[in-house]
Symmetry: C2
Subunit: 232 residues, 2 copies
């Protein structure tokens, strides 16, 4: 099991049992999502911006319009990108012991503007395939003009904090267990719905297999190895 | 329709059609979630921390241990709290026009430490009821010692930016429509699973009605007026 490097920023100070140094756990968290929250200073203001991302195992990519203020401000400055999956409510006997089952990764670093055309295409491919495997080879790829209008940023996965909480509440062995109250977990599930065709779509154009087979499956879905179980 | 006040920070500069000044839209976005991303400067580092919140219509509350570095650093400093709901993938004919249907609210401001015991209890009640309506009256409420170990912060909803994207892709009338590619939306749904009892729970303790009726319903669930439709 590969281990993450600890820095002053990523050292788990409290709730150490929720901290993880497992590299596989990081990869699983980043692989299971496609929206992150980017924290960045823009003109003296702190912004937390939801944005899509892609991750190739060593680098996290995010993108947007070249006119975006938050993307223009990010290169060369310290940012924090957080990916969070909420897995359920932890319903304890006491309000104090309530909590959330979750998996999160915080990535610290200084993003780099991607200018090289080949790396830019590879990064955009990674970003597209992160949310929709198969789509890069199906949809029309970016033109030269579209590439020029797109800013792509790369953030290395060098300094990362992973936190995970799973399982039951923790007051089952304390005095509160005598209260006779129900306790447990209410899980939260995310799943893809049924495909909704663009109303402007010509009749007779059927969705490709990589999209059709996702409908009704757990998110993230049809990536190899994630066990895209059909919900019952 | 009440309108949100625009400031230099919350003025929608780009993608103005995704910006909303509708107060009801803000209330709906904040009401539909219970996890936010708090952006805060801690000892010179920018952190984006996922945390639970409650909202009473004028104030957003978040909390944690008095030992938490991010909560200790937040009062009196400028923070940004973002709540995001991801509703689906927008699958266009071109990669360039791909996007995400989402609803997000960014709250800017300077949080205040809540010291008054009555306001603290009311804020914790709001926070508990946000994720789990009915739970404050069911679970054991915080003791004096537990209250002392809990930091509660209040952030007024005075400066907020709301962004929403809904609907189909936007290249259905351009030249890409001739490519014969499928385009549309793949919706993402969040739902509560079946209750999982704490393995330490005494047999015979049944879940209360406010929890039992949530299983299998759309998240956020059983709040009045949100139409907690059972998933089919």
């Amino acid at each position: 099991m590969a281990s993450l490097t600890v820095t002053e920023r990523t050292r788990h100070r409290r709730l150490r049992e929720q901290g993880s140094l497992d590299r596989d756990a990081l990869d699983a968290i980043l692989g299971a999502g496609f929206v992150c929250h980017l924290g960045v200073q823009v003109d003296g203001d702190l912004l937390v911006v939801p944005t899509v991302y892609g991750c190739d195992g060593t680098t996290l990519y995010f993108h947007g319009s070249v006119a975006s203020r938050s993307l223009a401000a990010a290169p060369g400055t310290q940012v924090c990108v957080t990916v969070t999956h909420v897995d359920g409510l932890v319903l304890a006997r006491s309000v104090f012991e309530h909590g959330v089952n979750y998996r999160s990764a915080m990535v610290f670093g200084t993003p780099r503007h991607v200018g090289d055309p080949d790396e830019k295409l590879a990064g955009l491919r990674c970003l597209t395939e992160q949310s929709t495997p198969g789509q890069w080879d199906y949809a029309r790829r970016p033109s030269r003009k579209e590439l020029a209008a797109t800013a792509l940023l790369a953030l290395p996965l060098d300094e990362v904090s992973v936190k995970i909480r799973t399982g039951a509440p923790e007051d089952g062995e304390g005095p509160d267990a005598e209260l006779g109250l129900w306790a447990g977990v209410l899980p939260l599930r995310t799943a893809w719905g049924a495909l909704e065709a663009d109303p402007l779509l010509d009749k007779g154009i059927e969705p490709p297999a990589h999209l059709a087979r996702r409908a009704g499956t757990r998110c993230p879905g049809t990536r190899a190895g994630d066990g895209a179980a059909r919900l019952t």
